[in-house]
Amino acid sequence: MKQLRCPLNGVRPVSEFAYAGEVRDMPDPDACTDPQWADYVFNRSGVPGVKREWWCHIASGYWFIAERDTARDAVIDTYPVEKLREVHRA
């Protein structure tokens, strides 16, 4: 079974984790158009490549970010969400 390195709990089998898709930047809900909003809600980047993704270590309820090559299912890096947060606060 595939392994994933949780920044909090170390290397664990992937069955201990939940996946919540790619990290996506939300457009400003008040400024964006309906089509821009629908694009955010529904559309995905389905092309293989290195993506920033949401992963959760289920037992500890810890969410973190994994950079993973979806073509090879190879995890390149994992890190805490704090790294992203500044971007989203702005």
Partner: protein, 934 residues
């Protein structure tokens, strides 16, 4: 005919222990250490099974766990591989795939039809709609191998996890050397081998698993080791693939006759079980291995009639001259054309271009295919090596190493050296703190092999390429001719390699034929994808004990005692209702409803999700996550909570209680609790607000005490002042109930004065018992999920997932009141703006029918002008109201009070209902707000 030799040194059988067994009803004896096949062979039984398609008599081919034609039915167990299954005393063994027994198989006629059954025949015949079903029945009944017994028990097979630094797959010379060398560095080593015996042992510091095989190698060096009575899942720091190579057959007419075996099979029979393959042995070979087998047999005193090498110049001149000196006739550059059968159907002679050679056994050695399947699964690559005439490893994934025959080394000394190197490298890789990336090194000095030619002078007869699937050379050629000319299409059309041995003795030769026909190199042709399982794995091993997680509230034993009839709710079991002596299900439920309306009832709602959020931003967090507003909620009060997704679809609901300025406690639906908690944690991580969440679902039990007498009952047990003024409707209070610290929520889901009582799990039973005890005075009854459904329906409350579906938004569910669109932001808000402008596609409405309509059920359709106009989402007969009530999700044009709806029930008849306001009962909610005088 095969026979047992006198005792030989090193044999694997114990002649002091006889084992009696039957085969096709005839009694035989073997020894401890025999396999089913070796015991039968020792007894001279040559025909062990019937082939898959033509029902031809078949015997041993490889004696190496891919003798698919010598599989047996042993009691209820189908498809038992006789070549590797240990003989046991009292075994009752039957051949598979016969109609009326092995000797007189009534399906043998199919063999004679052979030439009318070309490849792809099934696709080309009987394709009329009218006749196909009859033809299909015939095929179905002839297909398949072993028989299952539907009475066989569910077998519980344990599973185990193991961790090692180095996993060595294969305990031959190379594997053993690798394991010892790795263990010598101090590494934790595990060695897995299919045989019952290997030379390596635990004294070498190696954990040895014999009679076991690796079925698959998965991501990050995760290997499934199948032991006889257990599956071990191994996480290895590094893997040495010493999986060897698989000897290949040679194609000539009737190459499937019993008595024609692989050279390796003859050696294994001899060395392990002291069985001679025959009294007059013919060897046909393209490889040194054929000569080596001849020498071994000769040393054991067997008579070698002839050796015929197919290559024009010998690959083993040294062995050839040695054998000639010992009186064996060696022919180089000739090829077998056809084998001749004796009266029993076994091999009697082989025709070559020049001569006919009498024999009672033939050894085939048509070169080797690397057993690279596991390596390929692990992400390795192979390339065809012309000198070795094999696909050899060309790329190794990180942490994977190879040694021995898989790498083209057939010389024991060289394999041993390579094994040691691989073992040390693997140990080093596993011990490195930062494992080196990139591929491991492949070094090799291979032994050359000549390709196995496929000479055919005579179109009659059958020269088999695939013994599992009964495929001949011409089948492969015809398929290529028809355009199935890539290796994958060829496989799919002919089924080559699709049988139980997964092409171990057929894929390479099929690829050779394809390469030859298309004029491509072997690498251009390629091989089909190697996938697990390496050998078939019983489902009992994969399933293990089959854990099914189930959750129970602390009150579960009380429910059982009270006669609960259980239903599933996610992982939980909940009482659907409580069975009463002499009452029907409907009567029980009606009684439970009545007691809540008239006196007091108690339901266990501990399955609800229970979450706390603490911190200065707790209110702001809930404002962003839920559709309602909570930052302005007064301490000590509760408010309904509706959770949406980004598309504005209803996901979950519950009650949010403000315990303190910076502390909220809220519930979720039973099914939603784990998912909602996880989603909220993610939002909290994303937003970075100053608050944190705790899931206390398992920590807290919860009961709903509801009914006009609930206050009277509870007041005797609690320190909390229950007066309306002190504890109003929708309030929340903390205090003591019984001896427990409790949270009391005054909610009205069932539409009566009522209290949700949340207490720590450890105190739950005592509080429950206390309530039941106190309740005696008030004729308290326990009520289940069904009664609760009726009660809430009388109040017009929807249940998410029943009255809503995967696309319902709050406006459609008439829950716009629970949404605060004016808030700066919440999940789903932007989508709701859009949906509000667009208007609903459907609307949830209440309906009523004056009489009882038992035929009307949830999900019956509303029909308007012959078209589907919606569906019933909830319906019940309300004893309280004396009429049928329900909710329906219907198109907006019909969602007008007083509109007549037409529902169509299962038998096609229709029922008319009237759209009416909700709640159906106690429209102004007086009872839940203020109670009623008892």
């Amino acid at each position: 005919m095969m026979y047992r030799l006198p005792q030989r040194e090193g044999e694997w059988i114990d002649r002091t222990r006889s084992l009696a067994f039957t085969f096709e009803g005839v009694r035989y004896e073997g020894f401890a250490g025999d396999t089913i096949t070796s015991a039968l062979s020792a007894a001279g039984v040559m025909i062990l099974g019937r082939s898959f398609k033509y029902h031809r008599p078949r015997g041993i081919l490889s004696f190496a766990n891919h003798d698919v034609n010598a599989i047996f039915q042993v009691g209820p167990v189908p498809n038992v591989r006789g070549d590797v299954t240990p003989l046991a005393d009292g075994m009752e063994v039957l051949a598979v795939n016969t109609v009326g027994g092995l000797q007189s198989d009534r399906a043998q006629w199919i063999d004679r039809l052979g030439r009318f059954l070309p490849v792809g025949f099934y696709y080309k015949a009987f394709n009329s709609k009218r006749f196909f079903p009859r033809w299909e029945r015939l095929i179905r009944n002839l297909s398949g191998l072993g028989q299952i017994s539907v009475d066989a028990p569910r077998l519980q097979t344990p599973k185990r996890y193991a961790f090692c630094d180095v996993l060595v797959i294969g305990g031959g010379v190379a594997g053993e050397a690798a394991a010892r060398a790795a263990a010598a560095t101090g590494a934790k080593v595990m060695l897995v081998d299919e045989s019952t015996r290997v030379s390596a042992h635990s004294a070498d510091g190696v954990d040895v698993l014999t009679s076991s095989y690796v079925a698959g190698v998965y991501a990050d060096r995760w290997a499934a080791v199948i032991e006889p009575h257990r599956m071990t899942k191994v996480r290895a720091g590094a893997i040495v693939f010493a999986t060897g190579a698989i000897e290949q057959p040679i194609a000539f007419h009737n190459n499937d006759l019993p008595g024609i075996v692989m050279a390796g099979a003859a050696q294994r029979l001899l060395q392990r079980h002291s069985i001679a393959v025959g009294r007059k042995v013919l060897v046909v070979t393209t490889h040194r291995a054929g000569y080596e087998a001849a020498v071994a047999l000769l040393d054991a005193g067997l008579s070698i009639a002839h050796i015929v090498e197919l290559n024009s110049t010998s690959v083993a001149p040294d062995l050839s001259s040695l054998l000639i000196q010992r009186g064996v006739k060696v022919v180089v550059g000739d090829a077998p054309i056809e084998a001749e059968r004796n009266a029993e159907g076994c091999v009697a002679a082989v025709h070559f271009a020049g001569e006919r050679i009498d024999c009672d056994a033939v050894l085939m050695s048509g070169g080797w295919a690397a057993a690279a399947q596991l390596l390929l699964q692990a992400g390795g690559k192979t390339a065809f090596d012309d000198a070795a005439q094999m696909h050899l490893p060309s790329e190794l994934p990180a942490g994977c190493f190879v040694s021995g025959a898989i790498n083209g080394l057939f010389n024991a000394e060289a394999a041993c050296m390579e094994g040691r190197t691989a073992g040390r490298a693997a140990a080093e890789f596993a011990s490195a703190t930062v494992p080196p990336s990139g591929s491991s090194i492949i070094a090799r000095s291979s032994s050359p092999v000549a390709p196995s030619p496929h000479r055919r002078q005579d179109p009659r007869g059958k020269d088999f390429i695939d013994f599992d699937e009964d495929l001949q050379v011409k089948d492969i050629e015809n398929a290529i001719h028809e355009g199935f000319d890539s290796i994958e299409l060829l496989k799919r059309y002919t089924t080559v390699g699709m049988g139980p041995s997964q092409g171990k003795h057929s894929n390479l030769n099929a690829a050779r034929i394809l390469a030859g026909k298309r004029g491509l190199s072997m690498d251009q042709v390629g091989l089909t994808t190697a996938r697990p399982m390496y050998h078939p794995v019983p489902m009992k091993h994969l399933a293990g004990r089959g854990f099914t997680p189930e959750r129970a509230t602390p009150i579960a034993p009380r429910h059982s005692d009270a006669g609960a009839v259980w239903m599933l709710a996610g992982n939980w079991r909940r009482p659907e209702y409580y069975m009463r002596e002499g009452e029907s299900r409907e009567q029980c439920i009606a009684g439970e409803v009545a007691v809540v309306r008239n006196s007091v009832g108690l339901i266990d709602v501990g399955t609800l999700g229970k979450i706390e959020v603490h911190g200065p931003d707790a209110g702001a967090f809930l404002d962003r996550a839920y559709a309602g507003r909570y930052s302005d909620l007064k301490v000590g009060m509760t408010r309904y909570g509706l959770l949406l997704d980004e598309a504005g679809t209803i996901v979950d609901d519950g009650v949010v209680a403000r315990l303190h300025e910076e502390s909220f406690y809220f519930t979720t639906t039973t099914g939603g609790s784990a998912g909602v908690y996880r989603d909220l944690l993610r939002l909290n991580a994303l937003w970075g607000l100053n608050c944190s969440l705790v899931n206390v679902t398992g920590h807290r039990a919860a009961f709903n005490l509801a009914g006009p007498r609930s206050r009277d009952l509870l007041s005797a047990m609690t320190s909390v002042n229950l007066n309306d003024g002190a504890f109003p409707y929708l309030g929340v209070r903390e205090g003591i109930v019984g001896a427990a610290n409790a949270r009391l929520l005054r909610v009205g889901f069932v539409g009566e004065l009522g209290y949700e009582i949340h207490v720590p799990h450890s105190h739950a039973q005592r509080v429950w018992d206390g309530l039941v005890e106190q309740g005696r005075k008030f004729d308290l009854r326990l009520f289940g999920v069904e009664a609760q459904r009726v009660l809430r329906l009388e109040k017009g409350h929807f249940i998410i997932g029943q009255d809503t579906d995967g696309l319902t938004n709050p406006f459609e569910a008439q829950a716009g009141w629970a949404v605060r669109m004016q808030k700066p932001f919440f999940i789903g808000q932007r989508s709701l703006r859009l949906l509000e402008r667009r208007g609903p596609r459907q609307l949830l409405v209440g309906f009523e029918i004056e009489n009882a309509v038992p035929a009307l059920k949830e999900c019956h359709l509303a029909i308007d002008n012959g078209e589907i106009a919606g569906r019933v989402t909830s319906v019940t007969y309300s004893n309280t109201l004396g009429k049928t009530i329900g909710l329906a999700m219907i198109k907006p044009s019909l969602a007008v009070l007083g509109t007549k709806l037409t529902f169509r029930v299962t038998d096609g008849s229709t029922v008319t209902a009237t759209v009416c306001p909700t709640p159906f009962f106690d429209h102004d909610n007086q009872r839940q707000k203020f109670g009623v005088a008892a």
